[in-house]
């Protein structure tokens, strides 16, 4: 087995990967930017090396620096985590050229699946259904409009070079088609440096359901069932669960086969995720393949008992898969909540600052994959995700109850987080019931945000009294330390956020 692995990432995913490395007896090397000198992944690692200034373009994305450290510390392999360099074909190639192992798929598989139109074209050669649409990027607007008419409005215009909802437009009718294509192209150009867009059928009540696959270098490919990821805001997943409350056993088997076929079509090796859209008629369509470990991978780990990072490492070392498809057994239900340093009451704007008090939930069936500690500063340089809370129980109802308990127990002061927003989703009757689709957030936005800000009289009373007590304390301590200053102003004149006196 490898003796030393460099983890080319930060935050919770770096820690997640390092935990498994250490369990496997492998030494772990961290890299860090200036802002991250005392970040949890640096403290956890056996060795740590600086790779540049705080902005990620000068550190975590600077692959010359990462490779220099890897050579210096004599790492045998590099794990890229997700994001940053994980889907960078050039980086994967250079790692291999430097005589090290890239813990991920072959560069060609990253390339094929990284370009959405190339991926579509590749998939059309298989039996896997693809969302009807253009096979290539739009060149001629007239041709494109004809295709859109054939598919039937509404259609989706999507960026070929990237995801996350940027460069995406829903077009309701032929009249606004040309204008929307133009907007999508400009947005796509500025977001990804690639203005190419393509057209897709717009599905009704779509569900975003993905399958985890594992493929070894001997040609064995298995899938580990699905994750339901339809709870999204701004095309970002918020809550994921497995099994999906929407699909049945037969459909699961069909989609699993399609996922394996997808992986085989691009000669995939390692852990990967095949994303599908499933419409209200339970028709499924290939959406894209993520050629890396997924943020929500713990959901699959908790229902299958398989350590996906350990499998990645064993595969990269050349070992065959440790289990066959028929040996994959799942039990119970798992659900993940992504905890962001964002203020849900201010349109999810990032929240930075020092974590003053931290209480992470624990106990039966409760896992937190994070990278935070009390007294730590959350900086504005990186993704605002603080970590993921994953809860497991024997069935969906028990898992949701456990998740709600854990979110109630989760306490972070000093910065704003999405903890309570996740709790509002978990408590929502439509989510509780089960087969929700990707419109869930849009449709229930107001109710969710209202349930965040509503407080009963008891809460208001105890909050007001504690605020009084707190200000009294501060006032008394400032009085004793500086008599004059304290007298200068009434200490209750501070007004609410957006108001003047």
């Amino acid at each position: 087995m490898f003796k030393k692995i460099l983890v080319a990432n930060r935050g919770e995913i770096a820690l997640r990967v390092m935990r498994t490395c250490r369990e496997m007896g492998i030494e772990v090397v961290a890299v860090y930017s200036e802002a991250d000198r005392t970040a949890p992944h640096v403290l956890f690692a056996d060795e740590a090396y600086p790779i540049g200034a705080s902005p990620s373009s000068e550190s975590y994305l600077n692959f010359e620096n990462v490779l220099r450290v890897a050579r210096e510390c004599q790492a045998e392999a590099i794990h890229p985590g997700y994001g940053f360099l994980s889907e960078n074909t050039q980086f994967a190639q250079q790692v291999t050229h430097a005589g090290m192992v890239f813990i991920g798929p072959p560069a060609q598989a990253i390339k094929t699946m990284g370009d959405k139109t190339m991926a579509r074209q590749s998939m059309l050669k298989t039996n896997v259904p693809v969302v009807p649409g253009t096979e290539e990027a739009i060149i001629d607007l007239g041709d494109a409009l004809q295709i859109a008419k054939n598919i039937g409005f509404p259609v989706l215009i999507k960026a070929a070079g990237g995801g996350g909802g940027k460069g995406m437009r829903i077009v309701e009718s032929a009249e606004t088609f040309n204008e929307s294509v133009g907007k999508a192209q400009r947005e796509s150009q500025s977001a990804f440096g690639d203005g190419r867009v393509y057209i897709e059928k717009y599905l009704e009540e779509p569900h975003h359901i993905e399958f985890q696959i594992l493929a070894d270098t001997q040609g064995n490919i298995i899938h580990l069932n699905e994750r339901e990821c339809s709870i999204q805001r701004r095309y970002q997943k918020v809550i994921e669960e497995s099994p999906s409350p929407f699909i049945h056993a037969e459909l699961r088997a069909q989609m699993g086969l399609a996922a394996v076929e997808t992986a085989r079509s691009c000669n995939y090796v390692g852990a990967g995720t095949v994303e599908f859209l499933v419409d209200k008629h339970k028709q499924f369509y290939f959406l894209e393949m993520n050629t890396r470990l997924q943020v929500e991978h713990p959901v699959t780990e908790m229902v299958t008992g398989i350590d996906l990072v350990a499998e990645q490492i064993r595969i990269a070392f050349g070992r065959p898969l440790s289990i066959r498809q028929s040996e994959v057994k799942t039990s119970g239900h798992a659900i993940e909540c992504r905890i962001y340093a964002e203020d849900p009451t201010q349109d999810f704007s990032p929240s930075t600052g020092e974590i003053l008090m931290l209480q992470i939930p624990d106990g039966p069936g409760t896992r937190f994959d994070g990278a935070i500690r009390q007294g730590m500063k959350v900086t504005p340089y990186y993704d605002p995700m603080l970590g993921k809370l994953i809860c497991w129980a024997g069935d969906r109802e028990a898992a949701l109850n456990r998740c709600e308990r854990a979110l109630r127990e989760f306490y972070i002061s000093g910065i704003e987080t999405t903890i309570q927003f996740c709790r509002a989703v978990i408590k929502h009757p439509v989510f509780r019931k089960g087969p929700y689709d990707t419109h869930f957030y849009k449709q229930h936005k107001d109710e969710l945000h209202q349930s965040l800000s509503t407080s009963n009289e008891e809460v208001l009373l105890v909050a007001g009294a504690t605020l009084y007590h707190h200000k009294n304390r501060l006032n008394q301590s400032s009085k004793s330390s500086n008599q004059n200053k304290a007298q200068r102003s009434s200490w209750f004149t501070t007004q609410r956020g957006r108001e003047g006196l």
Binding site: L356, G414, E457, L460, A465, T466, F492, T493
Partner: protein, 166 residues
């Protein structure tokens, strides 16, 4: 001491009384005994009639309180402000973010900035003397100072626009 606790939806009239280690509240909702113990800077364990709460006061916005993990936005008005309101002066008034007007008549004793200055949320903007008290008014948002409509030493009426942050 008489106070008013306001949220977007509710307004409660209360009377706080310190009683040794305890805090007593008299409110129309009934009488309550509070045991408040600090467990971390700005974080308190509160037992109110034996109901248990963990309450954090946000260090940046002290109108924002975290009760058992749930953020609560509230306003605490003391006797001075309650009295002003009885006299017909509205101490709280929703305004465009960054537009600061005088909600009490008074004397502008100090202006800390000039037009074009960049200010951060919470930075002091000006001092207004009213009811024989000097009040420091802080920037409600971060931004650039677009307009200053008054001068130091000027007496202003209620409602006068004083500073605009853009």
């Amino acid at each position: 001491m008489k106070f008013e606790i306001n949220s977007d939806e509710k307004s409660l009239q209360v009377d706080f009384q310190a009683n040794g280690e305890k805090l007593l509240i008299n409110a129309p909702e009934g009488s309550m005994s509070l045991d408040v113990v600090q467990i971390q800077a700005g974080v308190y364990s509160v037992l109110m009639n034996n109901r248990s709460f963990v309450i954090g006061v946000c260090p940046h916005h002290n109108d924002r309180v975290n009760v058992n993990g749930t953020p609560v936005v509230l306003e605490l008005l003391d006797a001075v402000h309650l009295h002003l309101r009885e006299l017909g002066w509205d101490t709280v008034h929703e305004l465009k973010a960054g537009l600061l007007s005088a909600q009490i008549p008074g004397l502008i004793t100090k202006i800390f900035h000039k037009i074009g200055d960049k200010v951060n949320e919470g930075e002091p903007l000006f001092l207004i003397e009213a009811m024989k008290m000097e009040n420091e008014i802080k920037a409600p948002v971060s931004g650039e100072i677009q307009r200053i409509s008054v001068k130091e030493g000027q007496t202003v009426e209620k409602g006068t626009i004083i500073i605009e942050i853009g």
